[in-house]
């Protein structure tokens, strides 16, 4: 009996009980599909977090006022004196790992263009802001150090804000009103990953001198951004900044610091661990559905073989060898689970084109192999085992089976 014959009789067996075959297929399909898709969702959310880290710039550090030591909150004002001290240190070689120091004042204001009006975060900063962060100017230009020195009324706006105010029109060169002062739009920032914690898509960036003069007043800085010379020197830069700040604030050690230096990656590490918990949970649910699907297949295979013991008896009486019987049922089980598995892969591939829970699923190759392998394994074992048992019966015993 050739392989082709075995496959043909297996197909006939599948065809003989269409409903049961379809249900088996469905069980495998759902199991395999959900494993691949849910693992993909987990992977997708992990990638989204990684993208956010990249968007924020992994070599950037943020200095904010306020720190906790011995359970007490300590606070010292972050002034331009502090940022000047850091700038000096970065230039005179005391803090060689710090590439750029960017002071930042941040407040919110109402932005108006023509009849359109919206509220936005207004950030006053220096020209090096555009180098230190991943905020790139897409249209027009950023402002220059000269603009900062002369406190010109120019702004660079986020892409989302530009769209809100100007629609499809070109904002560069237009004049917008913030508070009651008109500003010229010098440039528009490139759209950044909107899922980031600090999206700059609806921010207004202007020279720090102008912001202090017109909007925030000459108070404290909101934050000081530090850019390390490279991704690898972030930790060194952090230590150097701490020692500069300790001397400015006249602190004996970092343990009773009245400031906080955080790296962007650090901000996201919490979110990342949440994500991985989420992914692990999804994978567990997916494996559960594969097991449930597997039990369904097992059940149907057992019933199929038991019900067809008489057929096995007839076939043996007509001269079928044990191998031919076993082959037929094995091929039948394998075809069913393979077909179901492949349909599951297709379903998962289609499903992965849609965003699930706000996440773009990413298909993981190993999950495809694993899910297919497990489903075929289940089909072969639980189809093969009862068939092997039945094929060993003497024909007369199998024939007696009703």
């Amino acid at each position: 009996m050739s392989t082709l014959e075995i496959v043909r009789s297996a197909l006939r067996g599948m065809n003989a009980n269409k409903l049961r075959s379809v249900l088996t297929l469905l069980g495998v399909l759902i199991g395999v599909g959900s494993v691949i898709l849910l693992v993909g969702v987990g992977q997708g959310s992990a990638t989204a977090v990684a993208d956010q880290i990249g968007a924020l710039g992994s070599s950037t550090l943020t200095v904010r006022s306020g720190g906790v030591s011995s359970g007490a909150l300590r606070y010292q004002n972050l002034t331009t004196t502090v940022s000047d001290a850091l700038t000096t240190a970065s230039q005179d070689g005391t803090a060689p790992s710090i590439d750029a120091v960017v002071p930042e004042v941040s407040t919110s204001g109402t932005v108006t263009y023509g009849t359109e009006s919206t509220s936005a975060t207004v950030i006053g900063t220096t020209a090096s802001y555009f180098e230190a962060t991943t905020a790139d100017v897409a249209q027009g230009t950023g402002f220059t150090q000269n603009d900062v020195d002369t406190s010109r009324r120019v702004v660079v706006i986020g892409s989302e804000l530009a769209e809100t105010l100007f629609g499809t029109a070109d904002p560069v060169g237009q004049s917008i009103v913030i508070g009651s002062t008109p500003y010229y739009v010098d440039g528009v920032l490139q759209t950044q990953d909107s899922s980031g914690i600090e999206s700059s898509n609806s921010n207004v960036i202007m020279p720090i001198t102008r912001a202090q003069q017109s909007i925030s007043g000459y108070g404290d800085l909101s934050a000081i951004l530090l850019k390390a010379t490279s991704d690898d020197t972030v930790d060194t830069a952090k230590a150097e900044a701490a020692s500069v700040l300790n001397s400015v604030f006249k602190l004996s050690s970092s343990s009773d610091a009245s400031y906080t230096i955080s790296s962007q990656t650090q901000l996201l590490s919490t979110q990342e661990s949440t994500t991985s918990t989420f992914a692990a949970m999804l994978t567990a649910v997916a494996c559960l559905s594969l097991i449930v699907g597997g039990i369904g297949v097992t059940n149907i295979m057992l019933v199929t073989v038991t019900e067809r013991t008489r057929e096995i008896g007839i076939r043996k009486a007509l001269g079928a060898t044990r191998g031919a019987i076993l082959g037929q049922f094995l091929v039948e089980a394998t075809l069913l689970s393979l077909l179901g598995g492949l349909l599951g892969v297709v379903a998962a591939l289609i499903g992965s084109r849609f965003s699930i829970l706000g996440i773009e699923p990413q298909i993981v190759g190993s999950s495809v192999v694993l899910a297919l392998g497990v489903s075929i394994g289940i089909g072969v074992f639980f189809g093969g085992y009862p068939a092997a048992r039945a094929s060993r019966l003497r024909p007369v015993e199998a024939l007696r089976h009703e």
Binding site: M1, S2, E5, S9, R12, G13, N15, A16, N17, R310, E311, G313, I314, R315, K316, A317, L318, G319, A320, T321, R322, A324, R394, P395, V396, L399
Partner: protein
Amino acid sequence: MTTVLDDDTQPLEPWAPPATPVLDVRDLHKIYDDGVQQVRAVDGVDLLVERGEYVAIMGASGSGKSTMMNILGCLDVPTSGEYHLDGIDVASLGERQLSRVRNQDIGFVFQAFNLIPSMTARANVELPMMYAGVPLAERRERARAALEVVGLDQRANHRPNALSGGQQQRVAVARSLVNAPALILADEPTGNLDSRSTAEVLDIFDQLNGLGRTIVLITHEDEVAARAQRVVRMRDGRIVSDEWNEPRDAMSGAAR
């Protein structure tokens, strides 16, 4: 005449030397022992059937005739005794060889027809040839010819449940002869049939026997046994009589 039936004509030549008996059974026993009681289903049977004979085995239910039939068909194994089928000692055969014997040397017709319900009449008839490895085209042709012999070539593409009992049994007969076996074994082949279908099936057996087929048939109906050349009666696992039916005796004289 069809190719299916021509294959086996050679031993019928009148001048041929006495051929090996198709069935040669000596002191056969089959004992079922469930620990509580012992049932001696077959209890010391000797039976010799020559090529071309048409033998009916008769007996009440429980006489051991069905057990006997299962052993003759290699569907069951005896507890003790010798069984030579067409000269081969069946006890010496392994699993694969037994499959081959069932496939090549024996054609079985069951009381319950035992067709595979999901397959058409033709596919059912082709099944033994499939296990024998006959190429597809030849298989088609031989199945068609066999169905023609039983008068069902027009219903080849029907499934068993679309056929009457008599027609199903005729398909089963076609299936039993398609590999040109040395022996056709029929276990109460008319037990589930009405009198008209019974007559049809028995006519086919007559026709096959006329062409030289060896047939062993189990029945408890006298009319059926009357069609055979030889009647063996069993009771309590033993053969109690072994007689030749007079008028048909002369017909197969050439075989002996």
